[in-house]
């Protein structure tokens, strides 16, 4: 033992007069910039999807009602129990909107334990506006996917050469990636008119259980193949994923299920339920999505259902309005054959008023459902418009295989999806006949307020259509009895101060679009002449529309109305209507059965 070893420890004394290193009053000590302290929630951003609750392994979060639910927002907000929270910030990382963050505040003393259970953003706290605290790096959501795989499509060159289907559908790998992104919050379900079980069937895609998925689809929608292709997918606007990145491709995933079940398997999977025959008979007028959905439901409930269709084939606007390159006919045929398998008797070429009367239907059946499509085009009524073609009529003739005139130059009036449909259909026909495309679309709206879907516009352009925005039709130029062009003025405003339709034009900005055919695609209406004068007189009306109750029943107890006629041109709305009407008809039939 050396003397040094005895003395050396005394060097510790040199610290004797140093200032203490301890913090005197730690309450209020500011934490680091990234510190994970008490939560903050931006209520206007939060959509109440509950992903934060799902991920919390401590079950510290409850979703509590704070505001009324609306599209894409459940109105619920996370309430946090700090007796459980472990400050892991997984809730912040997973948050679908970035609304949930953390402040760097952590020193808070209170003798009431319940004070430590509150709803950030609702129960105001001093740190609500604190900039410092844990945020996701670059505000990136990394725990769930943000972008959808790109959908495989035909190249424009290949597209324009035929009416073949453009969209390939996802590969299995793509479908799995896309289905994986869904957080199963179910916000979209409320927005879907038919309230399809979206998160559940997306799960089926993930699990690869396509047959189970198909059964689930048919519980709410007998037109899933169609909707999987052409649905207006309002659900996707309500999707939780839309706030940071792409909405889940709900429509494509639905299609993925329908594409992956072999056609013959449909008939085994969607079998008619074993219910006793009711002995009741229902007539349905119009074999569109609404009418056929009603027929599907009522037939499955044991009723005898006959569908009367004026055109040669069933499907309504799905067949005669939507071009084949978006919805191939064989898909539709197969879809309808599943419905027929339920015992639905579809009689085509049966025009009401001509081939059979409504009175007759009423006599032979216990209930009649009118499910009429919007099959009449509206006219611009500009000079020369009597020489114009109607888009909807033209589309029908193309589908029917009629010979339609295909001039080298076609001008189209309108900027909605129907305008794009006819533009692209005519482009294909021109390409077949002349080897080149000569379609000009003139829309009243400017590109910032365009009506057609973006991808429709983009694809039409890729296919060679020329699109002018903010052009108002003034005249269809007719020379020696033949259409020679379309004269348009620049449109400065569409609506007046009161919001009424009253377009204003700049006459100095005039264009004449040379064309040997002008097509009007500015809206459709239903042909209600088939009701006949007597019934028209008897029915109650509301601003030109048949007055119905919320279940589609008219003022006549035996008559219901559904489909585009009542809710506008959209397959999924028609399906939802169809279900509602079927339910209402069923209830009436049930009631009469019980009283007799």
């Amino acid at each position: 033992m050396s003397l040094r070893d005895v003395l050396s420890p005394y060097t510790a004394w040199k610290h004797l007069f140093e200032a203490p290193v301890t913090i005197k009053d730690p309450i209020g000590r500011e934490a680091a910039e990234r510190y994970r302290g008490f939560h903050q929630n931006d209520l206007s951003k939060c959509i109440g999807c509950g992903s934060c609750e799902d991920i919390c392994q401590n079950a510290a979060i409850d979703m509590v009602p704070v505001s009324d639910p609306k599209t894409g927002d459940s109105g619920l907000r996370p309430m946090i129990d700090y007796g459980r929270c472990c400050w892991c910030a997984l809730c912040v990382d997973v948050c679908m909107t970035g609304s949930l963050t953390m402040s760097n505040e952590y020193t808070w003393v209170d003798s009431d334990p319940d004070a430590f259970r509150f709803t950030p953003g609702v129960d105001l706290k001093s740190w609500d506006a604190e900039e410092k605290g844990y945020k996701r790096e670059n505000n990136e959501r990394r725990l769930t996917g943000t972008h959808r795989p790109e959908m495989g499509m035909l190249e424009p060159e290949a597209r324009i050469a035929s009416f073949g289907e453009i969209v390939h559908g996802y590969t299995r790998a793509e479908a799995v990636i896309e289905a994986d992104r869904c957080v199963e919050c179910g916000l979209c379900v409320a927005t879907c008119p038919a309230h399809m079980d979206i998160p559940d069937y997306i799960r089926k895609v993930r699990e690869g259980d396509y047959e189970g998925g198909l059964k689930l689809l048919y519980e709410t929608n007998p037109f899933s193949q169609t909707c999987g292709r052409v649905c207006t997918h309002a659900c996707e606007t309500a999707c939780a994923a839309v706030h940071e990145g792409d909405a889940i491709a709900i429509r494509w995933l639905k299609r993925d299920i329908t594409d992956n079940v072999p056609r013959e398997r449909y008939f085994d999977l969607i079998s008619k339920p074993d219910v006793p025959e009711t002995g009741k008979k229902v007539a349905i007028v119009g074999a569109g999505p609404g009418g056929l959905t009603t027929a599907f439901d009522l037939a499955r409930a044991g009723n005898e259902v006959v569908v009367f269709e004026a055109l040669p084939k069933p499907g309504g606007m799905m067949r005669y309005g939507i071009p084949e390159y978006r919805l191939p006919y064989d898909v539709l045929d197969h879809e309808i054959s599943v419905i027929e398998k339920m015992g639905v008797d579809i009689r085509c070429n049966q025009r009401i008023g001509t081939d059979i009367t409504l009175d007759q239907l009423k006599k032979d059946h216990d209930a009649v459902v009118l499910s009429l499509g919007l099959n009449q085009g509206r006219s611009t009524r500009v000079p020369g418009s009597e020489e114009a073609e109607s888009a909807i009529d033209l589309l029908r003739r193309i589908t029917a295989g009629d010979k339609v005139p295909v001039p080298k130059q076609v001008a189209i009036i309108g900027g909605g999806n129907v305008a794009m449909d006819i533009a692209r259909s005519m482009a294909r026909l021109q390409r077949q006949k002349h080897g080149e495309v000569g379609v000009t679309v003139t829309a009243l709206e400017d590109f910032d307020h365009f009506l057609a879907d973006d991808e429709e516009v983009e694809e039409a352009r890729e296919e060679g259509c020329v699109i002018y925005d903010a052009r108002g039709p003034q005249e269809i130029v007719v020379k020696s009895g033949k259409v020679a062009g379309l004269r348009t003025w620049k449109c400065k405003a569409i609506f007046d101060a009161e919001g009424r339709f009253a377009p204003k034009y700049d006459a100095s900005d005039e264009m004449v679009h040379p064309a040997q055919m002008v097509v009007e695609a500015i809206g459709q209406s239903a042909d209600i002449s088939l009701l006949g004068a007597e019934l028209t007189e008897k029915l109650e009306w509301n601003r030109g529309r048949i007055r119905i109750d919320q279940n589609g029943r008219t003022s006549e107890p035996w008559l219901w109305a559904a489909g585009d006629l009542v809710s506008g041109p959209d397959v999924i709305h028609a399906v939802a209507d169809g279900h509602r009407v079927a339910k209402s008809v069923s209830a009436m039939l049930q009631a009469t059965r019980e009283t007799h």
């Binding site: 040094r4 910039e33 892991c88 910030a89």
Partner: protein
């Protein structure tokens, strides 16, 4: 030895025919003495049940279970992301090993490749954690010997490192920063500079420790030649880390089975010869300096930019195919590892945490205790550097 008094061993228990000691408490010759679960000479919440005869310990049994939280079972009921906030809690002083091992195990079975920068960050964090764990160790061993001031200094230095943890990870103790797929963020601006200040302060205090502890006659007397582990015991008793290195076996997974970016770093395995308490502390003391050097090296060599997170599946329904793996690393106490078994579902089938204390504080300690003096049990225990939560998880 200064006082080499002969002891009359006749009063000590004699082994029976089966080689086991026969201890009859009724004779009044023996006393049961509990060290812990609350005792300054115990690391964490555990206790050693000593049987003493005079001031000599004739038998010892380790008791754990004071903070069993059933972590491994809990994890089987958590999705793969939900396990992440739990793992760090298995070990307070050096939580990051749990985060790393778990994340790496999940990544391996799920087939995820972690970005390079994330591996550097992970290495940095593990070295920072090692440093802090050693700070607690130095405080503990000095405390066990009544040198309270070293404990105070080390607590201070550890706190400075916790400040760096706080600014980097957002938390001081349970960092929850190494996420399956990478790490949660980049270095804050100016981090290296502030880290350098901490390291300099640490070096200053460590120099004081050198003077106050290592050059302390009492300390030397009470640690040299005491608590010797025969290197022959290393394999039978699963001894790893500094405990083995102090006995001349250069076991260090950073070299033996390089993980993360250790292959790209210059360092040497610190070893000693005597395998006693003094050497074990000395090896760790040198390892602290090595960690300091490694932290400097990492900060200097790591890529300046790049992603820190790989793309991972939607964590809310993350399923991992059936498989099993074992990920290990060299913690401040020795081999730390996670054995993960998956069954294709969204939950782990089994997670087993392999902590070095499991062997060191149980079978090994019980083997070393007989024949020691009561007053040496504390520093013997502490010198093994064990943390009970690893034992009972």
């Amino acid at each position: 030895m200064m006082f080499n008094l002969k002891t009359d061993r006749s009063q000590y228990p004699q082994p029976g025919p089966d080689g086991k000691l026969e201890i009859d408490l009724e004779t009044g010759k023996y006393l049961k003495l509990w060290q812990g679960p609350n005792h300054p000479g115990i690391t964490g919440n555990m206790s050693v049940e000593l049987t003493v005869c005079g001031d000599e310990v004739v038998a010892g049994k380790t008791h754990v279970g004071y903070l069993h939280r059933g972590f491994e079972k809990l994890m089987e009921r958590r999705s793969f992301i939900q396990v992440f906030p739990i793992v760090c809690r298995v070990c307070v002083p050096e939580p990051d090993f749990n985060e790393y091992c778990y994340a790496a195990a999940v990544e391996e079975l799920a087939g995820i490749k972690v970005p390079e920068l994330a591996n550097w960050m992970r290495t940095l964090i593990l070295e920072m954690g090692r440093f802090n764990s050693y700070m607690m160790f130095l405080g503990g061993i000095s405390g066990a010997l009544g040198l309270g001031v070293v404990g105070q200094w080390m607590t201070y230095v550890r706190d400075l490192m916790l400040d760096r943890f706080e600014e980097l990870t957002g938390a001081r103790i349970y960092h929850m920063f190494i996420l399956p797929g990478g790490v949660r963020g980049h270095l804050p601006d100016g981090f290296a500079g502030r880290m350098e200040e901490v390291l300099r302060t640490a070096e200053k205090y460590l120099a004081d420790v050198e003077k106050v502890m290592f050059r302390n006659a009492v300390y030397k007397r009470r640690t040299k030649g005491i608590g010797v582990i025969d290197p022959k015991l290393f394999e039978p008793y699963g001894v790893t880390g500094p405990n083995a290195r102090a006995g001349g076996v250069a076991k260090d997974l950073r070299k033996d089975a390089p993980y993360l970016v250790y292959n790209e770093l210059d360092f040497e395995v610190q070893t000693g010869k005597d395998s006693d308490i003094h050497t074990r502390v000395d090896v760790r003391y040198r390892d602290i300096h090595q960690s300091i050097a490694l932290i400097r090296q990492i900060l200097q060599k790591m890529p300046k930019d790049g992603p820190v997170m790989a793309k991972i599946p939607n964590v809310l329904h993350w399923q991992i195919p059936r498989g099993e793996t074992y990920i290990k690393g060299e913690s401040s106490r020795g081999e730390y590892g996670y054995y993960l078994v998956t069954d294709g579902s969204g939950y782990p089938r089994r997670i087993n945490v392999r902590g070095p204390s499991y062997t060191h504080a149980m079978a090994l300690l019980e083997h070393l205790i007989p024949g020691t003096n009561i007053s040496d049990v504390a520093q013997l225990m502490v010198s093994l550097h064990t943390y009970p939560p690893e034992i009972e998880r």
